[in-house]
Amino acid sequence: MKYLIIGGSAAGVACAETLRKHDKSSEIAVISDEVFPLYSRCLLTYLLAGSIDESKLYFKDKTFYEDNNIKFYLCKKAVSIDRKEKSITLKDRTKISYDKLLLATGASPKLVDVPGIDKKGVFTVRKIDDARSIMKMLNKVERIAVLGGGLIGLRDAYALRQRGKEVAVIVKSPQVLSQMVDKQAASLIAARLEKNGIKIMTGLAAKEIIGKEFVEEVLLDNGEKIKCQMIIIGKGVKANTELAASCGLKVEEGIVVDEFLKTSDENIFAAGDCAQTYDIARGERRINALWPCAVEQGERAALNMLDKKIKYDGSLSMNSVDFFGLASISMGVTKPKEEKDYEIISQVKNNIYKKFVLKENVIVGMVLVGDIKPAGIISILIKNRIDVSSIKHLLLDDNFDYAKIMPLVAKYKDKFKLEECKDTIITY
């Protein structure tokens, strides 16, 4: 067997590692068009903030590919796939054949359509090159405008504030993190950012980026001008689907895959930010562009490339942020559209906010701000769609811990995965 993986990040590496664990002899190759191997993208804002250096970016041992006897192509871009011949072609015209192929091509930042976007000093933060270019320029910069109040925008702003820069975040929606949390949580998080010197400007959009060669100002749609020498665009991502689409695979918002992470070609699989999978809490197909989802999908795709036929239940959108010591985690549906179909259990107390969204006694979403301890325990209740009627009254308890769900684990043993109940129930 010849296994080939395009993309050497979370999903691609998890797939390669799992393939090698189960198949000691087959050929495995990973192709990456980047200049730096095995780095974790999520750490780039920590690099920008100056809290780590480049040597800490590796998420696997530097010798991972040698240790696992995996052929690795660095700085090589795959430009086409021939499905009949089962081969791919690199930009330098090299052809590589495969029996099973994984597309783990990830995502790219969404850009904004604003005049002046091509001026020097406008950046996105997705690749090591982006971070390096920003850092090169940073000592000449005092004021920075971040366009986008989503997770990436705020992370970028937080990082640059830690470098002592004057940072303003321009947010189109009336609240920050509108995809991730509700208004209440957003206001607590925004207050913490503002208290630490980050300016949050909601309900506004950039209209024009002004400057000669370099950025000097950004004009907003209310006529206000903000002086800045750097602009970071943090508007979310879109799946890299060009390669898949160009060889005729089924593509929607992302590459369409079935419950075995197989695309519309039986020898080609997809995983990670480029793949459109099933969302457990929402009950629909969608992309959850998150590190843990990419790793899990990479592993699961590997098992199916090995023909083990193991279903992937789908992903749960969940995220964790910590700004100036205020930790927040959100999961699943946090702002239901039709409130009346849902039950909301929530509380704000001493700047700690907890909210649980339930549908027919099953938790489908959660927001925690200030106290995130119960997050992991709640995650398995959401994932396994457990009826929580008997412990509802405990959800807001300060001491909510695993013991509180033990009766449920014992009762619905078959619904939980072994990993989640382990042996704690032997004596329950």
Partner: protein
């Protein structure tokens, strides 16, 4: 006894179990864990340390049933999949879920993913801490401190046998 434990510690599938029927919630395990992970490893000095040492085990209760719970060193550990810095990894020999403190950036993705709530936030140092199976001693601090024999070290089969005997 200790020699025996040391040998056990290096074997796969050895876990710390808690017999819920025996645990009385005295929190001796919690104190022993915090002291073991303090700088001085001595209770009287440990309580004076600037950043109070963190325990990685917790006596939890429901309906009068109490369990002393810590990292279960899951085989297919969700925390490792979630850890985006590569700080968490599996020791293939012992099956332990280990953490490289130097790599941890305190993103709390592991806290978000651990089904047991077994990862503790060390807020002062901004890193996650968890059960490390006491690398500095031959036995396990919590097990050694348990006065009722609720905590037990062995394989699942051994534990099941022990529980059934009663």
């Amino acid at each position: 006894m200790t020699k025996d434990l040391l040998k056990k510690k290096k074997t796969k599938d050895i876990k710390i179990y808690c017999d819920i029927t025996k645990c009385v919630g005295c929190r001796s395990c919690e104190i022993a864990c915090a002291v073991e992970h303090s700088k001085s490893k001595d209770i009287f000095s440990a309580i004076k340390e600037k950043a109070l040492p963190k325990k990685r085990v917790k006596a939890e209760n429901i309906n009068n049933k109490i369990i002393s719970l810590h990292c279960q060193h899951c085989e297919d550990a969700p925390c490792i999949k979630a850890c985006m810095s590569g700080a968490l990894s599996k020791d293939e020999k012992t099956g332990a879920t280990l953490q490289d403190k130097d790599k941890c950036v305190g993103c709390w993705m592991c806290v978000m993913s651990c089904p047991f709530g077994a990862i503790v936030q060390d807020v002062e140092n901004h890193i996650a801490v968890k059960c490390d199976l006491c690398p500095d001693r031959e036995d396990f601090a919590c097990v050694a401190a348990c006065p009722t024999g609720a905590l037990f070290v062995g394989t699942k089969e051994e534990f099941e046998k022990k529980v059934k005997k009663k």
